[in-house]
Amino acid sequence: MTRWFEDITLDEAFPLGSHHFTEAEIIRFGQLYDPQYFHVDPEAAKASHFGGLVASGWHTVSVGHRRMVEALFAEEDRLRGLGKEPGVSGPSPGVNKMEFKAPVRPGDTVTYTLVVTGKRPSNSIPGWGLLFNTLEATNQNGELVYHAELVGFSKLRDYKMPLRLRLLLALTRIPVLGKVITKRTG
C-alpha cells in the first residue's frame, strides 16, 4: 500500500487524523486488555494519582495504528486516482521506543502525526526495505500524549533479485533439498 520504498520522503509530516475517546470505549478496551481500576472503574479511578478514568496507553496506541493504516489506504486511493500504481506496506518487525507522556481522558480528542525519519533496504528480507517512523499523538490542548519510534516494512519497486538468490529460490522449490536450504538460510 501507499508509496514505494523509493518514493518515501524523509522528515515530512503525514497527518493521520484525530480520534475522540468516549468513556464507554475506554472502559471496553480496558475490560478486554488492561483491566486496571483506573482504566475500567470511573469511581475507583478517583483514588488514583490520575484523579479519574484514563485510557490504557495501549488503547491510544492501537487507535494510532488504526489511523496510520487508514492514512495509508487514503494515500493508496490518491495515487490510483493519479493513475499511479501504489506501493506495498508489510508487517512491522517492532517498536524501538514508546513513551506515554500524558493521560487520555473521556472526551479528549487525540491527533496523530507520522514522520519517516530513516529508511534502508532490509538485510534479512530481499526486496523489502525498512522504514523508521516517529509517531506522535497530541491532545486538544496541544499536549504530547505519546511519542513512538516504530519500524515498518515497505516493498522496493526497483528490486532485482541477484542471480545467487534466484538460484537459491529455485533450489528451495525442490522437495527435501528445499527444506534443508530454508532451515539453513532461515
Binding site: 488492561d34 483491566p35 490520575f50 490504557s56 493504516v69 508487517p91 517492532g94 514508546m98 506515554f100
Partner: protein
Amino acid sequence: MNPVTANRRHYEDLTIGEIIDLGATSVSKEMIVAFAREFDPFPFHLDEEAAKASLLGGLASSGWQTAALTLRMLGDRFLNGIASMGGLGFSDLKWKKPVMVGDTISGTATISGLRRSRHHPERGIVTIDLDMSNQSGEPVMTMRLANLIELRDPAAPLVEGENP
C-alpha cells in the same frame, strides 16, 4: 493511603529477578479478525487469501493484538496485584514470528529493574521484561515495559544508587 491499592504489593515488596508465569492464551480466527477490524485493517490480518500472499504467510494476529493479549495476561497475573500507577511506556518491542490462527501464546514476565522516579521520588518504577512464545516454543514477541508503582512509604529517603 490509596484505599484501592492498600492491600496490594508495593514498590518495597518487589525484587529484581522475580519471574511471573503469565499462563496461556489461544488465538482464534474470530479474535484476529475482530481486533483487525477495529485497529489494524490490513488485508493480511482480515483475509486468508491476502494473508497467504503476504510476508506473514497466513492469517496472523496484529502485532498490537499479541501485545494487548500479553498485557491482559500481565494484568491478571501481576499488575492487578500490585499498587500500579500505570505504564510509562516500553522499549525494544520485537515481533519475532507471526501468531497464526489457532496458536497458543504463553510466557513470562521478569522484573529486571526497580528504581525510584527521578521527578517523583515518592513513586517507584518497575521494569518488566516480557518473553512470549507459541505452542512450539518459538519466541513470538519480547519487550521491556516500564510501569509506575506506589511506595508504601512515599517519604522514605532515597538510598544512594536507588535512583540511577
